[in-house]
């Protein structure tokens, strides 16, 4: 392991400082881009505009520190963990730190996005460097005051000391430090010296959450704000023909009924716009009827009183049709080859045995607990947008374009989000509310009911995999994976995930069917289902090869040479260590009678995860008792937050594999609320025990990687218990069928 305190930075141009008019030091920095030489942070704290910096640290004259956390918080914990990293290097007691959510810089491109579990991974260096730079400036200021050499001074817990035993608090020297140059080279702490990183730090918003303080987008209010409920087509493929608003308008709380859609259509019909696999397909097709109410209830009641006539505009699709389309693709010849090693054709031609399976998954809605909503106030001077969005920059840019405004006039404030899971990457509701506010010229909040939310449409696409393995002389000689998906296929480095590199003849092919149903990212896109398919397949392969499922993975991983192929980013060594930790902690193969185990391991989002599911049978039905999880995410910044992410990800993975079902008939979603759409509930949850591989390597994200292995480990445990092979999600349907067959 590299000694990290010898690792110094010299790229200093992303940090600027200024003395605050009110006293104290303001440090502005930009994670991913340099700052212009001319740009300095404001001296007036109220003028923080995040224009050139995406985060700030304020050190007040009393030594207390405010960290303006830049990235959107969707429950993944970055509002706590990112400031922890700054505070560690700044070396202040965590009790002296206050965290505030930063606003969006709409003009300066940066990665102010919650998605892909990348906030911590990308922020790690810049956050540490910024904290350390501030500390060094404070030490330099104290040294100058004492007239001693800075190298003879040190700082810890907000106090600077010199060799004579003199002490100064950070607050005593902030105003002097603000006058100093930003130092060129600074030294970071050794990981062994960490006092905050690696300790449990409770969510910084905890008090507000548990006492019900306004925090979320739905809670945001301004005087005179109106509410908007939007009536959209009930089915994909339909558009508005006509509507009658007379009953809605007769309601005392309804202020107006308008239509929107024109601006979005104009924007989306630009030649350059890539409409494939985008939220906007549905939005661009039609006008929507909007009821403006005095209250939320007025708007909802008004929407329910609307009478609209819809007409078919494009194909009315159904789940049966998707099934057929995807099967045809899998059995067809038109594929894009995403990775090809050796000669798969030959491997299969000369195989002793071939195992082939098809795995199937449905569409899934995200179902964030906080339904989609957003606030907009459009005036001649500015466009003010407030609410929960994972991609504030993109939203601001589209709104500027939609309303034909300068980007500088569009200001986005981010609220805490009641879940994201990928849904809030897509800003359709932001564009809608901007168009509404532009039309009515009054501050307005768009609100969605659960029915709107579940049927207004961005879903995980339905996907099928066909996986085949060639066996020769008791070894896997060939592996061929085909993906057929609705709208879009696996992307980036996913085709290079395990078992790429471990099997000589290896090929991944993809094909897709273009649907008018909008699809997009859903927590751990593609791998949320791909991992189940592959990890179930490997379990069967182990049976076929008469070897232990874990041993099969370990043997295959021995074939992988780390660093040999730049596309292969998983580390065989790290994966082996992770698997071994899971096997040890779960007592793999040594459980008491009646307990059945299933194993899966998966690398995604730069994190290695291995899971063992323990189930028992109750009246012949599987009861998921326990999940043992081993994780290598490098340094664990905030263990309590990290475990929370894994616990949630695993149960989410089990819940959706078990119960998640979503179908279409004549273009219409068949479930629109929780009375028929089943999410996992407490009664059905296992206890999740999480163990981290000890590591001094840079941290990686945890929002997503816990989820993908869960479905596979569960399916493998059920197979071990009942012999039932599960290849189709949701499992609950197949299990019920299997039960029924057994009883007959």
């Amino acid at each position: 392991m590299e000694n990290q305190n010898k690792f110094t930075f010299s790229r200093r141009n992303f940090i600027r400082t200024s003395a605050l008019a009110s006293g104290g030091l303001l440090i502005g920095f930009n994670f991913f881009t340099s700052c212009e030489d001319t740009v300095v942070p404001p001296v007036d704290i109220s003028k923080l505009n995040f224009k050139d910096f995406n985060a700030f640290i304020k050190i007040a004259e009393n030594g207390y520190v405010t960290i303006f956390s830049p990235n959107p918080e969707i429950g993944q914990g970055v509002k706590t963990s990112m400031p922890m990293i700054i505070a560690e290097e700044l070396d202040v007691p965590w009790e002296h730190v206050t965290v505030e959510q930063g606003a969006l810089d709409t003009t300066n491109f940066s990665r102010q996005v919650a998605g892909g579990s990348q906030s911590i991974r990308f922020g790690w260096d810049a956050l540490r460097q910024t904290g350390a730079t501030a500390k060094h400036m404070l030490i330099n200021a104290a040294a100058a005051k004492w007239g001693v050499n800075a190298s003879s001074c040190s700082a810890s817990d907000g106090i600077i000391k010199n060799a004579n035993g003199d002490k100064l608090g950070y607050g005593d020297v902030v105003n002097d430090a603000a006058q100093l140059e930003v130092p060129e080279d600074i030294t970071l702490k050794a990981t062994t010296d960490y006092k905050i990183i690696g300790k449990d730090v409770v969510n910084v918003d905890i008090d507000k959450i548990i006492t019900g303080k306004p925090l979320f987008g739905l809670d945001y209010k301004v005087d005179g704000m109106l509410y908007a409920a939007v009536l959209r087509p009930p089915a994909f493929g339909q558009i508005l023909e006509s509507y009658d608003a007379s009953q809605a308008k007769a309601l005392p709380g309804v202020i107006d009924v308008i239509t929107i859609g024109e601006k979005a259509r104009n924007y989306l019909n630009q030649d350059s716009f890539d409409r494939s696999a985008h939220w906007s397909v549905r939005l661009s097709e039609t006008d929507k009827v909007v009821v403006i109410g005095k209250t939320t209830w007025d708007a909802i009641k008004g929407k329910n009183a609307l009478k609209a006539i819809w007409k078919d505009n494009s194909l009315a699709e159904s789940t049966e049709m998707h099934d057929k389309k995807l099967n045809d693709l899998l059995n067809g010849k038109e594929f894009n080859t995403m990775r090809s090693d050796g000669n798969v054709k030959q491997a299969f031609a000369s195989a002793d045995k071939v195992l082939e399976r098809v795995y199937e998954s449905p569409f899934l809605p995200h179902n964030c607990m906080e339904p989609m909503n957003f606030f907009a106030d459009v005036t001649n001077e500015k466009v003010h947008l407030v609410g929960p969005i994972q991609t504030p920059e993109a939203a601001a840019k589209v709104v500027a374009s939609l309303l034909n405004r300068n980007l500088e006039d569009v200001h986005v404030d981010m609220t805490r989000m009641g879940g994201g899971f990928g849904r809030r990457l897509y800003g359709d509701f932001v564009y809608e509310v901007a168009e509404i506010a532009d039309k009515i010229k009054q501050p307005v909040k768009l609100i969605s009911t659960r029915e709107d939310d579940m049927s207004l449409g961005v879903y995980r696409p339905a996907i099928k995999y066909k996986i085949a393995a060639a066996i020769k002389d008791g070894k896997i000689s060939g592996y061929h994976l085909k993906e057929a998906a609705v709208n879009s296929n696996m992307y980036g480095l996913i085709p290079h995930f395990f078992p790429a590199g471990a099997i000589e003849n290896y090929q991944v092919d993809t094909a897709n069917y273009q649907s008018n149903i909008t699809t997009g990212a859903w927590r751990a896109p593609y791998t949320n289902f791909l991992a189940f398919a592959e990890q179930s397949f490997f379990d069967e392969l182990a049976e076929l090869l008469e070897t232990d499922p874990i041993q099969l993975r370990l043997d295959l991983l021995k074939n992988v040479k780390d660093g040999e192929d730049s596309n292969i980013q998983y580390s065989a060594k790290r994966m082996i260590d992770t698997i071994k930790l899971a096997a040890e902690k779960s007592n793999w193969g040594k459980t008491k009678q009646g307990v059945h185990q299933g194993f899966a391991a998966y690398y995604s989002h730069n994190t290695h995860v291995a899971e063992v599911v323990d189930i028992t049978l109750k009246n012949g039905l599987p009861l998921v008792e326990k999940v043992t999880v081993a994780v290598d995410c490098g340094i664990v910044v905030n263990p309590t937050g990290a475990k929370n992410q894994i616990e949630g990800g695993v149960i989410d993975g089990i819940g959706h594999a078990m119960y998640g079902d979503f179908s279409f008939k004549n273009g219409k979603p068949q479930d629109v609320n929780f009375n028929t759409y089943r999410l996992i509930r407490m009664n059905e949850t296992p206890i999740v025990n999480t163990y981290f591989v000890e590591s001094g390597l840079p941290p990686t994200g945890l929002g997503e990687p816990g989820l993908p292995p869960a479905g596979g480990a569960l399916a493998n445990a059920i197979k071990a218990a009942t012999g039932q092979l599960l290849t189709k999600q949701p499992f609950v349907k197949s299990i019920q069928k299997h039960e029924a067959n057994l009883k007959v």
């Binding site: 905890i206 006492t211 209010k221 607990m369 989000m417 009641g418 929780f674 407490m682």
Partner: protein, 153 residues
């Protein structure tokens, strides 16, 4: 529109709303008590849970007209000078992820513990089964209810 006299968090209040307005929207839009959350509108998710005369109910599905004289407690009224033991347990175990459902979870838990101060694991799991947590912070909710019971005994 009509006037309704409500007693919320110990305070007598009058609101002027339509008779079919669910308590949830009276709390959120009329009284600025936004701690009670909207999740499904059909009493399936528990995000809107409040206490009606001490019993956990779904405020999204109770019209204001049926509440004349009732005693309502919301998440805002749970803590007095200090946090309720259930809130303390939630904090101690760092339960929330996104946090949106947690007010409803806490209201269900406090009402449940009043009726059953010494629950076993199965009773906790059954009692909390009506409250969805999309982040699936269920393990911690379960542990926090048990911890709160211990704190209160």
């Amino acid at each position: 529109m009509a006037n309704y006299n409500l007693k919320i968090n110990g305070k007598a209040l009058t609101v002027t709303v339509d008779e079919d307005t669910p308590l949830l929207w009276v709390l959120r839009d009329e009284l600025n008590l936004v701690g009670t959350k909207f999740g499904c509108g059909i009493a399936q998710c528990g995000a809107c849970t409040v206490h009606l005369d001490g019993i956990a109910v779904r405020s999204c599905s109770i019209p204001v007209a049926s509440l004349e004289g009732a005693n309502i407690t919301t998440i805002e009224g749970l803590a007095n000078d200090k946090l309720h033991p259930v809130q303390e347990a939630w904090k101690e175990l760092d339960v929330p992820q996104c946090g949106y459902c947690q007010a409803g979870q806490i209201m269900t838990a406090t009402s449940f513990l009043k009726q059953n101060p010494n629950p076993n694991t199965e009773e906790i799991r059954n009692a909390m089964n009506g409250n969805l947590c999309r982040c699936a912070s269920y393990n911690r909710i379960e542990k926090a209810v048990a911890l709160a019971a211990k704190k209160m005994s």
